[in-house]
């Protein structure tokens, strides 16, 4: 188990630096003018950041009101007998429910967890791993099947939700294992 943890740590530490150097190196070797291309893409980054602001405001204001009113504490108290033995902080549960429905909603809920409980709390860490390891299932199904007019999904929804559930269970287990 400790070997697995150290492998995961090495991946975490090296992935971004390797990507930051490796991608421009590969691109230069293939004759890409990396600097102007980078700047062009960075412009898009600004637009993406601005695009998500309204979603963040909507979610953080609503969750802030919910928490400020004491409703989050009530919910947590109700769910504690179920979630505590499983090692799941109750505050991360709303994120599990929203994940298959809305990507920007999930980002908002994760931002709220980081803001209210700190970025390195167990709830934030589980939320972060779930956000990164799963997708907006219903959005993907609706867009892809809708585009070609398929209305009989057969086993697509159960299989996709199984994947989603497995991702959530694995996220909780890995966070518990690596971060204690």
């Amino acid at each position: 188990m400790s070997a697995l943890i150290s492998i995961l740590e090495v991946i975490s530490t090296w992935a971004i630096p390797l990507f930051l150097v490796g991608v421009p190196a590969y691109a230069l070797a293939r004759g890409v003018k990396v600097y102007p291309v980078f700047v062009e893409g960075a412009k898009e980054g600004l637009q993406v950041a601005i695009r998500i602001v309204p979603y963040l405001v909507a979610i953080l204001a609503a969750v802030g009101a919910f928490r400020g009113a004491g409703a989050m504490d009530r919910l947590a108290a109700w769910l504690q007998p179920i979630t505590e033995p499983l090692g799941i902080p109750a505050s991360v549960l709303p994120l599990f429910l929203v994940r298959p429905l809305s990507g920007s909603g999930t980002t908002g809920l994760l931002a709220d967890l980081i803001e209210s409980e700190g970025p390195d709390s167990v709830a934030s860490l589980i939320g972060a791993v779930v956000h990164g390891s799963t997708e907006t299932t219903f959005y993907v199904l609706a867009v892809y099947f809708g585009a070609i007019g398929v209305s009989r999904y057969r086993h697509a929804i159960p299989a996709a939700l199984m994947a989603e559930g497995a991702g959530i269970v694995a996220s909780i287990a890995v966070v518990r294992l690596v971060f204690g």
């Binding site: 799963t134 070609i148 398929v150 690596v178």
Partner: protein, 204 residues
């Protein structure tokens, strides 16, 4: 999502009314809105850096290189799709873009793949096994580096924003493997031909 959002506000108001804590409700909403802007400002730099790098990756043809690398795997996953069919290329390019985290490039490639898979479909309103499997892989996330999450953690002042990269990779491998296994199993349990035959009998 509209209903969920409204429920958060409405249930918050109910809880506030029961406790007589309406000022907590109001200040919670206002603080949340202010926190959203603080976070967004922290995000801008990271997102710009990352999307700049992704543009370089795209321009260098990394998506195509990845698509070539996963071709042998694709043949085993989609044995019913001919290896030289355009659907195979589009699916490989879509998954390559997804692995790199190029969401904007992945969607049009995915739609193209669905179009091509539809040409192999005998019943146009019913999903084929290949379509379901392709969608399940898309819906289970195969991204290598969750850049938005790392950026959010950095903006929130995490000690090591990237510490979740390894754990996320492991969790996403589990979710994708379970998704593929479930899709393959369910396809065998209830094949499309059988489902459509039953449909014809029922339809008289």
């Amino acid at each position: 999502m509209s209903i969920l959002w409204f429920l958060l506000l409405a249930l918050g108001l109910v809880a506030a009314a029961i406790d007589g804590n309406l000022s907590g409700f109001t200040s919670g909403a206002l603080d949340g809105a202010a926190a959203a802007i603080r976070l967004a400002i922290g995000l801008v730099g990271m997102l710009a850096l990352w999307l700049g790098l992704l543009r370089v990756a795209e321009e260098a043809g990394l998506t195509k290189a990845l698509a070539r690398a996963i071709r042998p795997l694709m043949r085993r996953l989609f044995p019913e799709v001919p290896a030289d069919h355009p659907a195979m290329t589009a699916m490989a390019l879509n998954l390559g873009a997804n692995v790199l985290g190029l969401g904007n490039a992945a969607t049009p490639l995915g739609l193209k793949a669905m179009d091509e898979l539809q040409t192999l479909n005998p019943r146009r309103d019913t999903a084929t096994d290949a379509m379901v499997l392709f969608l399940v892989i898309n819906a289970s996330s195969v991204q290598l580096i969750p850049a938005t999450v790392v950026a959010l953690r950095a903006a929130g002042g995490a000690q090591e924003p990237a510490s979740i990269v390894g754990p996320t990779l492991l969790a996403t491998a589990v979710s994708t493997a379970v998704g593929i296994a479930t899709a393959k199993l369910l396809a065998r349990l209830r094949p499309a031909e059988e489902a459509s035959v039953r449909l014809e009998i029922e339809g008289g």
